[in-house]
Symmetry: C2
Subunit: 128 residues, 2 copies
């Protein structure tokens, strides 16, 4: 279960509006980007939130991977989004593929600013 | 999009085997724990991985929330699991609910050791 969990919080996205509001379009693109990165999608799910007085609702899109998961959330009212790419390195090191996937999803949203983070997971603490 | 992303990597889980291998059971329990924590499930998805020569396949279970998401992965061959609880604090501070949810999911797996992490998300970097 050793793995790499990459996150990115995206601000001032300058992409087409549909990438912030069209759950089916984002999900289909995410699956394609997963495949392009050489990772294996096994299931997928998206949800569109209702519109509000502030504007159109955001979306959540997630792709379950043989290697773990990708998840995207959007906030169209602030042109922002967050993404998670988590890969377990069971059997092979998928870190480079995870980084390629994160970069390609970031490129979809064209953020003017972003905050990225990498968390190494599955490192067992020492026994008591 | 300010929020809190809690992770926990669980080792030497002493729970009943079904919590590591029964995707439907884990998903149903996760939805119940989300509701018990006062968070709002909006969609859910689970996947069971095929059995291997090492033993029964693991599972992934995810619950999309109005507040963001919960995701659980298991590795029955090593009695381990990882979980993510990510809540956006749009409109209200859901941090305490996220911590309660993480604690209740951890309790399901009865790990002998765990590594927990908290990431504060959505903090915009300074403009260039």
């Amino acid at each position: 279960m050793h793995g790499l969990h990459l996150t990115a919080d995206l601000f001032d996205c300058t992409c087409e509006q549909r990438w912030l509001t069209d759950a089916d379009a984002v999900l289909a693109r995410c699956v394609a980007l997963v495949q392009a990165a050489g990772l294996q999608p096994v299931a997928q799910l998206a949800h569109r939130f209702p519109d509000s007085p502030h504007g159109p609702g955001g979306i959540t899109a997630t792709v379950l991977l043989a290697e773990s998961h990708l998840c995207v959330h959007t906030w169209p009212e602030t042109c922002s989004a967050t993404l998670d790419v988590y890969v377990c390195n069971f059997g092979a090191d998928h870190s480079a593929k995870a980084q390629a996937l994160r970069d390609s999803v970031v490129a979809l949203f064209l953020p003017q600013r972003l905050h990225a983070h990498a968390l190494h997971r599955g490192q067992a603490p020492s026994p008591d």
